[in-house]
């Protein structure tokens, strides 16, 4: 499979803390790659390194074979790497349609085209009936969906999702999962999803990377990962033993 987006040997140190320790990841075309890890494992730091929000101490990031080190977030977005925020950041006083149009302008010529594409994306993400509402009036699950829709409207090739499922209740998570897997089916996009909630990724990700204390400790399919004794230990503690059934 073609490697689309790749990070090689990323390192990031905050004072005495090595937040990212020699992390390398590869994202293939049309793949959903999950990154999991307990609190404080360095997931968000890794995400911020990949999305250009902070610079790595060393290591390189490649997108479609070209180095994208040191590019700012809006430049990365123009290349085709979009992201969402863990804490939703809608343009509160603008309507839902305007929120998405602002993103659609990036790859559209003129207002008409941007509007058409924004409407189409809203339709696909099942937010079309809210298009004239102000973004601040949406519920949290809707705002999370808006966040996704907005990132998708920039027509990305790589979509990085920072805990899109956090803060949702189990039934809302169930609603969200098919939406995300449909994105990969319907748009030519690879997804990197960082998630704290393990079970949410089980049905979603094709491949999972587990990080702990800044380093990759396990890589594999979701089933492999959840049955791995080391992963179980870091999630559930030393004394836990896997009961084989």
């Amino acid at each position: 499979m073609e490697i689309f987006f790749e990070a090689k040997n990323l390192n990031k140190r905050f004072g005495g803390l090595l937040a990212t320790n020699d992390v390398s990841i590869q994202l293939h075309k049309r793949e959903i790659l999950g990154v999991i890890g307990p609190n404080g494992a360095g997931k968000s730091t890794l995400f911020n390194l990949l999305s250009g929000a902070i610079k790595p101490d060393n290591g390189e990031i490649f997108f479609m074979g070209k180095s994208v080190n040191g590019l700012k977030d809006f430049e990365l977005c123009k290349l085709g790497i979009a992201r969402t925020f863990q804490i939703v950041k809608p343009f509160k006083e603008l309507t839902v349609l305007e929120n998405v149009m602002a993103a659609a302008y990036l790859t559209s010529i003129g207002k008409k085209e941007a509007k058409i594409y924004a409407l189409r994306t809203l339709e696909a993400m099942k937010l079309i009936n809210k298009k004239d509402e102000l973004a601040k009036n949406l519920s949290l699950p809707e705002q999370k969906r808006l966040e996704l829709t907005r990132a998708l409207a920039t027509r990305p090739k790589v979509l990085m999702l920072d805990e899109v499922l956090a803060g949702l209740n189990p039934s809302e998570v169930k609603e969200m999962i098919p939406i995300i897997s449909n994105i990969v089916k319907n748009y030519d996009v690879s997804i990197l999803i960082i998630e704290h909630v393990l079970y949410a990724l089980m049905n979603l990700a094709h491949r999972v990377i587990v990080i702990d204390q800044g380093a990759v400790i396990k890589e594999g399919t979701p089933t492999e990962v959840v049955n791995d004794p080391v992963v179980i230990k870091i999630y559930l503690g030393e004394d836990f033993e896997l009961v084989k059934s």
Partner: protein, 331 residues
């Protein structure tokens, strides 16, 4: 009836009222009209930066003063017509905006505001002390030699038309930006800058463009103003109260909206002028400031978004209600 209470009908109506009032032979009315139109332009230009991008400037007098002094010095020293001088002034304002925009956009919130005040004050002090060029605090006087090429008219109606054209040009500029991609980008940056850059918007670049356009339009307003008063002095064209009044008109009317500054200027300028002349003459000097303050407190307490958004949402809600009752009646 109610559907006529819409900006697209009110705007031509306003122009007609202004043209009718300009026929009344009363110098007070003419003065009020000229100042109101000037402030419609200035506040709209200010709104393009501070309202749309959220970078609150309280130093727009800097651009007003630079525009005013540039065209005046060119006219007095080099006999350059103000028609050209005001564009040279505008270019000076663009250069000034570029110089102060690059470092000050790194500052967020109150720090940007404070630096804008500081820059206007620095320019005021420079104008007072650079006597060879500015004639210090004595100011520069434009000689009263009437003629279109000098932009000096004995007839104050001509100034009304001039200011009307100015207000219209500024308004149209902001109108087209508001409806365009740039307008949406500016609003996105105002609402959530991190999210705006994450969808590919170069926030600093768009803030800079809006700052440049805002400065340029304010500078032209300064040139027009001195051609009306025929006098430029540091304490009037670089005055911090001028910066505040520009901002207040927009905040009162509705910051970040297209029509807000227009509504705000139409209310605040005549109000302060009428109160000043009527109360000052009848032995209550300073009382106009008290009333002025009360109006501001009332508006900010009960209409924090400003007059225009509050009133237009009231009308919308009423229309919805009346439609509902209609439907109920029909059923």
């Amino acid at each position: 009836m109610r559907r006529f209470i819409q900006p697209k009908y009110l705007l031509p109506l306003g122009v007609i009222i202004i043209l009718l009032l300009s026929q009344v032979d009363d110098i007070t009315i003419h003065n009020i009209l000229i100042l109101t139109l000037l402030y419609i332009g200035l506040s709209s230009a200010w709104n393009l930066l501070s309202g749309y991008t959220g970078s609150l400037s309280l130093g727009h007098a800097a651009f007003f003063g630079v525009g005013a002094y540039t065209s005046t010095i060119l006219l007095i020293e080099f006999q350059v017509t103000p028609w050209i001088g005001m564009f040279v002034g505008a270019i000076m304002c663009v250069i000034l905006a570029l110089i102060i925009g690059l470092p000050s956009f790194r500052l967020k919130g109150p720090f940007f505001t404070l630096s804008s005040i500081a820059i206007a004050e620095i320019l005021r002090i420079v104008a007072i002390n650079w006597r060879e060029v500015t004639n210090g605090s004595m100011g520069l006087r434009i000689s009263f030699s009437e003629g279109p090429s000098n932009m000096v008219f004995s007839n104050s109606q001509t100034y009304i038309y001039l200011m009307l054209a100015y207000a219209f040009i500024v308004f149209i500029t902001v109108y087209f930006i508001d409806k365009s991609k740039m307008g949406l980008y500016l609003k996105a940056v105002r609402e959530e800058e991190d999210a705006a850059t994450s969808i590919g918007i170069n926030a600093n670049r768009y803030k800079m463009i809006s700052f440049i356009i805002s400065a340029l339009l304010t500078g032209i307003g300064g040139s027009l103003f001195v051609q009306f008063t025929l006098f430029a002095e540091p304490s009037s064209v670089f005055d911090i109260n001028l910066s505040i009044l520009i901002a207040l008109a927009a905040i009162l009317g509705g910051i970040g909206t297209l029509y807000g500054p227009v509504v705000g200027a139409i209310i605040i300028i005549p109000l302060s002028e009428i109160l000043k002349s009527s109360l000052g003459a009848s032995g209550f000097p300073g009382l106009h400031l008290v009333i002025y303050g009360v109006v501001l407190i009332v508006v900010i307490r009960w209409m924090p978004k400003g007059l225009y958004p509050t009133i237009s949402s009231l009308i919308k809600n009423r229309n919805k209600k009346s439609q509902k009752t209609k439907i109920i009646k029909e059923v």
